[in-house]
Symmetry: C2
């Protein structure tokens, strides 16, 4: 076939696009699962915004976190936020 190379490249591209679309869907599904956990905890009386903040803090190295907290305190004091 004259354009076998062309066809197989089209097919390859289509497969790649479909792989990405499946992965994007999986990723979206997990994002929905995460939302469900937050909803579940909200329904139990927990504060989802604070939970997000805790997750952010737990991701940091303890030293980095403590330093960030100290700087935050300094700025709060400087601006009279108590």
């Amino acid at each position: 076939m004259a354009d076998a190379g062309h066809n197989s490249s089209n097919e390859d591209l289509r497969l790649g696009i479909e792989r990405i679309e499946r992965l994007e869907e999986e990723k979206k599904g997990i994002g929905d699962d995460i939302k469900d956990v937050y909803s579940e905890y909200k329904a139990k009386g927990f504060d989802a915004k604070i939970m997000r903040e805790i997750i952010r803090l737990r991701k940091m190295k303890p030293d980095d976190r403590r330093e960030m907290e100290a700087v935050l305190e300094t700025y709060k004091n400087a601006l009279g936020i108590d």
Copy 2:
């Protein structure tokens, strides 16, 4: 125990945070898989930016896509972009 209720609530919160952290990690893993597919196709000579655009277009309803493309054409003509 005086604070059994308090402890079980703490434990529940910890479990929820850990569930979210595991899901976030899975989500990140899939994001990395997506990046790998793009890299693989880039290495084969495909344009990753155009692939992203194709995925965006395939997500739209055909009618919406055609309308968007028509409006885009109109704006391009209006601005002398050819």
